[in-house]
């Protein structure tokens, strides 16, 4: 070995309170390579990179940049050491221009004017060099997600980063946008930059990285050359056992339509049209999967059907029309009509994080006469007993009804929501991002339960940004783009390329 590693971490450990997020991690990243770090949610990938970027301080361990020991105490020192980071959730000021965001923290001098002029020129150069074109005067809130991500990359390059860390960069991108991002990354590699790509998507790792490190439960389990490994091997390294990458299910036997949606339109409080006339139906005993890049109206669709926002159009449930704007358009009325809803963001919507598990198992069903001891008071003892039983059946760990929701892991939180929604035997289950932030073990369990519900003759509307999940669970796939349904396909008659084009708004059949 003659060349020094661009980055070398030695024995990094970090605990958050009683949780050990990183445990004695060592890794070498060679210059001019794309190094992938893969692992499940909560494996400690983001924590490790946040330490490298000076966002957190490690409890123990050393960092070497280009062979010399670096003392990274905060983001400022990391930036000075030539490290740039693109976070999963962009760190941009929404009502600032691109230019203002780029210079923020990297201004030359106390006055803005010269900094802005310099950045304008520099941005132009970078745009040409790396094909990173963005209007420097546009406000961030007016940019698409893909362009916002470019601004983040430009921010790092403007600070002359040689090492670029990207945390789950494709989660919000269409397949086409993701490909474009990968081209940019390859270009950066050609220029000699070192790139660390954090992801949980095996496909991306195989597609673009030179080397890959696998993390599991806060530890680094392996580092291998990408060309010498396979997705199956990586999955096994991530989980620690053999995994089924396919969902085991029989063909569907659909019955009568349960949900019929016609010409659904939603205009939000900012005047943005989130749904532009959506029509679809879901039949008993089938799973309709809605594919699409986040932010193309899928959320609005779930929210309308779940009674969270008003809409215009017609929705029929078991043949009867639903109220979309009036007093009977709230979540209570929806539940009364046999609609259960596992929301996309369980921590934000599906659970009260400070409530105990038992309080959460009646959330949304708190008016159910069965859990009242009399006209005034709720029967808390009965709810607790019922919760304990549910936790048993859904393998929630630890099975303690008194623990607050926030102290369960993502997968166990999702099981609590699922138990609450499924066990009331709904006619229609709305389920958004069922496995986001959920470990692989729980993913299998959740998928299995959803398929069981389908086999019991219930209708299921599934929304997911994970194309793999849509492909493997759905009996029918509808693709959404820009508030519209771009087309419907059967999973066995389509492929990711076709769906990807639809997700980007290109319908070749129609064209």
């Amino acid at each position: 070995m003659t060349t020094a590693a661009a980055i070398e971490l030695k024995g990094i450990s970090k605990a958050f309170g009683p949780v050990q997020a990183n445990k004695d991690i060592s890794i070498r990243v060679m210059p001019g390579t794309i190094h992938g770090i893969i692992g499940e949610n909560g494996a400690g990938k983001s924590t490790l990179m946040s330490i490298l970027f000076g966002f957190y301080k490690a409890d123990a361990g050393e960092i070497f940049i280009n062979g010399t020991k670096a003392n990274i105490t905060d983001s400022q020192t990391a930036i000075r050491a030539g490290i740039g980071m693109v976070f999963q959730h962009f760190k941009l000021v929404q009502n600032f221009s691109v230019l203002e965001n780029v210079i923020l923290g990297a201004e030359d001098g106390a006055l803005l004017r010269p900094s802005l002029a310099k950045a304008r020129g520099e941005l132009k150069r970078l745009a040409e060099e790396y094909e990173l074109h963005v209007d420097p005067d546009a406000l961030i809130e007016d940019l698409s997600v893909g362009h916002q991500q470019r601004v983040e990359i430009l921010k790092a390059l403007y600070r002359q980063a040689d090492i670029l860390i990207l945390d789950e960069p494709t989660g919000v991108l269409t397949p086409a946008e993701a490909d474009q991002l990968f081209r940019i990354l390859e270009r950066l590699r050609e220029e000699g930059k070192t790139i660390i790509l954090i992801t949980h998507k095996l496909r991306e790792i195989m597609h673009i990285t030179d080397t890959v490190s696998v993390m599991r439960r806060g530890q680094m389990t392996a580092t291998v050359k990408t060309s010498e490994t396979s997705p199956e091997q990586l999955a096994e390294l991530m989980v620690g056992r053999k995994v089924l990458l396919r969902v085991d299910k029989k063909p569907a036997t659909p019955g009568a339509p349960v949900l019929e949606v016609e010409n659904l339109r939603v205009i939000d409080e900012h005047g943005v049209e989130r749904l532009k006339g959506v029509s679809l139906n879901v039949r008993a005993g089938e799973i309709l999967g809605i594919a699409g890049v986040a932010g193309n109206g899928q959320s609005a669709l779930l929210e309308v059907l779940g009674g969270m926002i008003p809409a215009t159009g017609t929705v029929r449930m078991n043949g009867q029309e639903l109220d979309l704007t009036g007093t009977a358009s709230d979540g209570q009325s929806r539940r009364a009509r046999g609609i259960a809803h596992v929301p996309e963001d369980r921590q934000h919507d599906g659970l009260i994080m400070d409530f105990s598990a038992w309080e959460n198992t009646v959330f949304g069903y708190h008016n159910d006469p069965a859990i009242q001891s009399n006209a005034l008071l709720m029967d808390n003892a009965a709810i607790r007993a019922d919760t304990a039983a549910k936790m048993e059946r859904f393998d929630v760990r630890p099975p303690d009804p008194f623990l607050p929701a926030k102290s369960f892991s993502g997968g166990n939180q999702q099981k609590i929501v699922l138990a609450r929604e499924i066990e009331r035997n709904p006619d229609l289950l709305l389920i958004g991002q069922p496995t986001r932030g959920v470990d692989i073990g729980a993913i299998e369990f959740i998928h299995q339960r959803v398929v069981e519900l389908r086999d019991a003759g219930k209708a299921i509307l599934l929304v997911s940004v994970e194309l793999d999940e849509i492909m493997s669970l759905s009996d029918r796939i509808a693709v959404m783009f820009d508030g519209r349904i771009m087309g419907e396909r059967l999973p066995e008659q389509t492929n990711e390329t076709e769906l990807g084009l639809l997700m980007a708004g290109v319908n070749e059949e129609a064209a």
Binding site: S75, M85, K91
Partner: protein
Amino acid sequence: MDFATVLQVLDSTVRLATPLLLACLAGLFSERSGIFDIGLEGKMLAAAFLSAAVAAVTGSVWWGLLAGIGASMFLSVIHGLASITFRGNQLISGVAINFLAAGLTVVIAQDWFDQGGRTPSLGGDARFGPITLPLADTLRDVPVFGPIYHDLISGHTLLVYFALAMVPLTWWLLYRTRFGLRLRAVGENPAAVDTAGVSVIGLRFAAVAICGVLCGIAGAYLATALQAGFVKDMTAGRGYIALAALIFAKWRPWYALSATLLFGFLQAVALRYQNIDLGGFVVPVQFMDALPYILTVIILAGFVGKAIPPRAGGEPYVKER
């Protein structure tokens, strides 16, 4: 109503608007950085007391001003500790600061001066005197412009002119300097500032400190310029009116000037006319007293355009995992 009366009312509008303007700009710096501050009232009160007390003892209004700023800064530091360092509830901290000032000023005033919670009356160099602008006396007899220049524009204390100068200065700081860019950013998205390698805590403390200085000057103005000495609860809700004006102004410097002038005008009118007779219908003085508050409620209700506060306002910054 003759021309002279109009001038008098407007002149008193400027005097009464000055503490509101200073406090409003103070709040602007703090809230633009994401720290809500309902403790403007308490800071002004503490500053009013200490400036009057020190001015009375030393006989120098400048020492008084300095002491007033110091008192206000002390409370600012408490607010900073509570809302920035210890990530406490900013509203509760503000409420506590208002009470602390209301109690401490009287307790200390009683201990020092034994005059029932007042300071001795100030005179001479212990007060800010009026400044006559150049040519004011010469131009006095020029019709219309003369009286306006002499009675309305000239003849205020230094602090009035300082407050007015703070408006363009604040605008320039906010929109034309690095500090302003970072300050606005930290109130909108502190994570963006943090990941850019700039200290969120440092920026917010700086903003809270500026807020302390301006509130200190506002309080000193009350006790050593507008009036001659401190009396119990002399801010009389001005801190809250300044807060109202800040919302009215949508957190912008020039709008802050108009909002505080409007509220100052209302106070001036209420002060001059007790019950206003509008052709048979008498507007009671209590209504005039309540008018700034009623107006604020109407504005808050969004009947006069929507006021959108800084996005990260009121939330302590915690690094995301």
